[in-house]
Symmetry: C2
Subunit: 435 residues, 2 copies
Amino acid sequence: MTAVADSPLPTPQQDDLREQVLAAARRARTASAELVLATRQRKDATLNAMAQALLARTAEILAANARDVAAGRDAGMTEALLDRLTLTPARISGIADGLRTVAGLPDPIGEVLRGGLQPNGLEIRQVRVPMGVLGMVYEGRPNVTVDAAGLALKSGNAVLLRGSSSAEQSNTALVAILRDSLDATGLPVDAVQLLPCHDRASVRHLITARGLVDLVIPRGGAGLIAAVVEQATVPTVETGTGNCHVYVDASADLDRAEAIVVNSKARRPSVCNAAETLLVHASLAERFLPRVLSVLAEHGVTVHGDGITQTVGGPDVVPATDADWDTEYLSLDLAVKVVYSLNEAIAHIAEHSSGHTEAIVTENVSAARQFTARVDAAAVMVNASTAFTDGAEFGMGAEIGISTQKLHARGPMGLAELTSSKWQVWGDGQIRSAS
Amino acid sequence: MTAVADSPLPTPQQDDLREQVLAAARRARTASAELVLATRQRKDATLNAMAQALLARTAEILAANARDVAAGRDAGMTEALLDRLTLTPARISGIADGLRTVAGLPDPIGEVLRGGLQPNGLEIRQVRVPMGVLGMVYEGRPNVTVDAAGLALKSGNAVLLRGSSSAEQSNTALVAILRDSLDATGLPVDAVQLLPCHDRASVRHLITARGLVDLVIPRGGAGLIAAVVEQATVPTVETGTGNCHVYVDASADLDRAEAIVVNSKARRPSVCNAAETLLVHASLAERFLPRVLSVLAEHGVTVHGDGITQTVGGPDVVPATDADWDTEYLSLDLAVKVVYSLNEAIAHIAEHSSGHTEAIVTENVSAARQFTARVDAAAVMVNASTAFTDGAEFGMGAEIGISTQKLHARGPMGLAELTSSKWQVWGDGQIRSAS
């Protein structure tokens, strides 16, 4: 899906759907009041029970998934999308391992963020608390269903899952198993709920349920994210749009530069931390461009180059248009431009970056410090691949997405990023003076 | 103002206004790129220069303010609103002191929030950075103009100020002085800009300037805040709606309870941390209600009570209706209800609280722990007045408002709450493995 349909006159059916979504949200809120009190022991026991149940009921999941895949094939879904949709015993085992990893992470809830005694004797602490009710809007990857439920549970949140209709059977089977595990360990089953997925209006009802839903995280293509963020009245976190740059500075070590450019582009071109544009300092154009273009070609990368790059690279280089500088290819394509200064590189990035990950390759301390201070992005790399922007690589253990906004969370979102805080003030009858 | 007018067909004049707001936002963004690099020394020097200039040019400010006050009086503005609008030499001196206080606070920018070495040798740090461009939408208090500009500058942000038309002359004079000080100390003058205030459409243009404005903070009445939050596509932080409760538990020390109830209600009834509802455990009704109602009456408080409260308090008690439990009076009115358990008190608060500040008065540890764990609010007090929810009281030195939302910031918003973060990753040519 790429847009949330808007219909000015709701039909009775849509009113029903709205009530269905709001009723689920109210049940989630009731569940969240119990989750606030759940100890780490109980949450971890539930996560481990979920992992065990997924393995024990693999046949059931695979049967449901096979129906989704067959329907997708009949509907002409591409092989790439079918691959994302498909579950195998190995993938289910990986999903279960993910839950066990989350169980092993420290509990974010209750952490004291700040605190101390005030002059009047009041004891003040800011402590981490669950957000409450999370909404997830995502596409046809059934693993997101379990990953999101696991992270939500560990951080003490109830979650409303609005997956793709293409994964409906798989998601239904998975959520049934997760809910059985909640029930078995004495946590409220409505902590994990699957929303109706056939009508885009259910997304709209979810993202406008102010007061019932505390945070909505859209995870998927740029169109989905933009539609959710623009129409939501519930707070949202934008995730995952990455028009990432690698800038090779005049003083770069060229072996490092080559390795970083190739890894940033070609390791997994379909993910948001992949590089989409290479900026090369003019003083290196003759020495560096031929070798990097040659290695990129070996990796099957199509280069969209500016004038100098075309001159150096010859007819294999596709002439870049203005649109290339703003394109997140998510494929084996790379825009390449020669710049004449660090300032020009920083200005180009400021104009075209989506604020995800930006990298400089340099041996010059001042250039590195200028770049990290002035480039406005969730992650700024010095002499490292853009591919490192990732929750696991940053030591968070797991992530629910990568935020490209500045409010609340920026960069990989782990457990801490799914929490809020609360001030607790303990006194002995203190009152405040009039002034 | 209580609503942001919506006009489906923009007139040419409105298009001009939109372009005016967006041009200001673009200038602010350019200024913010310079502010990112401003050292604490320079920011503090500017804040002190601003304070000095406000004092030196007091006559100019008072003359402008007198025109606003005269126009307000002619337009039939209430005495309370005129009082908020009026500046005096003492108030200007207080505003200047506020800037000096902010200059004395530690710089939030550059603080390392998390960091360490990864197994592959990457050095990872999450550092505090400015948000970028802030938008403030507020009512007829000219002091907010200077307070917001000072906090924005110290936290490295450019700010777009959209004040009330009733304070236009005062705000224009104040902003001219602030900009002169920026100029004098070598910081970009467009770090502080006043937006047109005569047309409500300028608010709409500000709160929909996605990509140019990073955060909008509405400060004022509930209607203003709701209109901004619902129509904004730029991230917002809700501030300041406080339907606060004091619950007097069965085990309360009644002297403390009385002092806390009276201070929470009557200290400054017009502010958001004032209590609006008193909940009293039934076992105390006969002992506590008569004495607290009597003291509240001495303070001029009108009680809106349930059946038992009416019986105890006699004809002076106004019978409470369902609406009373949801009303933020902001006046010397207090709803009073008798509850039969801690659970009933917590359930009542869950249903009616605006999530600002909730207090329990109790000598029982378990009751205090239950209350602080289960009540979902920005601040939860044990044996202390609700009046303590305040940036200065929490040791932040200054605040721009009190957030009642869970995303990003919750409770008093000081300098740290006006910042974002950025991950800086330094390496030696690391690339990520394929798996």
